[in-house]
Symmetry: C2
Subunit: 260 residues, 2 copies
Amino acid sequence: MATMPPTPPEASVADAAQATPAFSPLYQQIKSLILQSLETGEWKPGEAIPSEMDLAARYRVSQGTVRKAIDELAADNLVVRRQGKGTFVATHSEQHVQYRFLKLMPDSGDRDDEGPAQRTVLECKRVRASAEVARALALRTADSVVQVRRVLSFSEVPTIVEDLWLPGNAFKGLTADQVAGYHGPTYAMFEVEFGVRMVRAEERIRAVAADSTIAALLGVAPGTPLLSVERVAYTYNDVPMELRRGFYRTDTHHYRNELN
Amino acid sequence: MATMPPTPPEASVADAAQATPAFSPLYQQIKSLILQSLETGEWKPGEAIPSEMDLAARYRVSQGTVRKAIDELAADNLVVRRQGKGTFVATHSEQHVQYRFLKLMPDSGDRDDEGPAQRTVLECKRVRASAEVARALALRTADSVVQVRRVLSFSEVPTIVEDLWLPGNAFKGLTADQVAGYHGPTYAMFEVEFGVRMVRAEERIRAVAADSTIAALLGVAPGTPLLSVERVAYTYNDVPMELRRGFYRTDTHHYRNELN
DNA sequence: AAGTGGTCTAGACCACCCG
DNA sequence: GGGTGGTCTAGACCACTTT
């Protein structure tokens, strides 16, 4: 790499232009090169990336260095290793953990017991970003955004009502049918239909009283305490690509979190 | 290790009795040996553990294998590495992240801006475990537990009221003064005074309406929506050592969570 | 200068998966 | 059997901290 001290003979990645001027360990530089290829879609969600040996040859470093780079990518859930098969680009489809970002669990039993959520899309329209939405999505006020409102039911019981705001640019042509009809997680649909891969998210959780609209949609009395979950989901490079606010009933479910 | 295949010449840890009968990689076995020493208190919170070289010699494996074991312990927050100085047993004291398990944040600014929480202990008494408490703490109903009720205020505003239940056996002699007067996190006090180290926790979060008691303590109207945060904290080996239920005001604060 | 963790390499073998 | 990721070793040097 361009910034390497002259330690190993031949360890110069004679490749494309360097995008990492600051000094960092070799494996970090390899990591960001791999990251670039993920961003540009050289390897697509669900596909295998080249083997460690191939990558080592490509970047002119040892297998161990590539390994350490991939280790970190795997720890970040950007990539999944499967012994004997290869390393694969992570995807919200087929990933055994359906609903990776949904932490609401039934009070007893697994989420699998209830089967998949039933989705009812109430609204899907193009609007101008409010100041709040613009701030969360790093847009300018009045930029075009797609707004979706939907209800999620578990075992026929409406449990979540949520609004989604998506940058209009990246989600041109999104329809209510797409949101409602896709089999599998909505984030998987975003990958397939729009090439947008959500990589991480941040949530702010509050307790609020249901207003009459939300109460009617959830079939509870107005004033019922609900969890308000505000989520910003990010693609690569910490670019925000979705704002979501959900109201969760917590009479039969709870938000589960693990602390380390 | 006893279960090693005959690969490396001399890789038999001619040490104490094996506690890991099942097959597993060498570094995993080393990891659990280190873990045992942490549990038994051979190295105490805040102290340095032996250097990688020393551990490699002690277990008769290469430095790289010890390194990988320690890497995992560091990822689990059981141990902290400091380049040039050594590897240290993690502690809730002096750990730069004060309040490692408290995810409630002021809506604007850092938690440091408010300074440390003011604690008011309302109650600290020995009681018999209810069925619910017994289940959470893996005790028998009517076993002795210590129950604490306290209020946490930020910037003079009462924001959290929480109840703690602790196994009576491990927390003999806990007093209200100890809980209120200790400088630093309560979990740090548990380490110093009772040798109990909390290693991870699970939380179940719900939205509930404040009853009149809680409302009075928090200075809000009865019926105000509050976050109910139920936490079980574990020491080593997944042994539960604390049940805690907190009611959080979320008018000026929010529960912040990061999803990966 | 000495000691610690951190990086990098090179080579060997193991465990797993598939054709 | 050949490919992939996973483990283990041995040795070199770097970066940081302390004496």
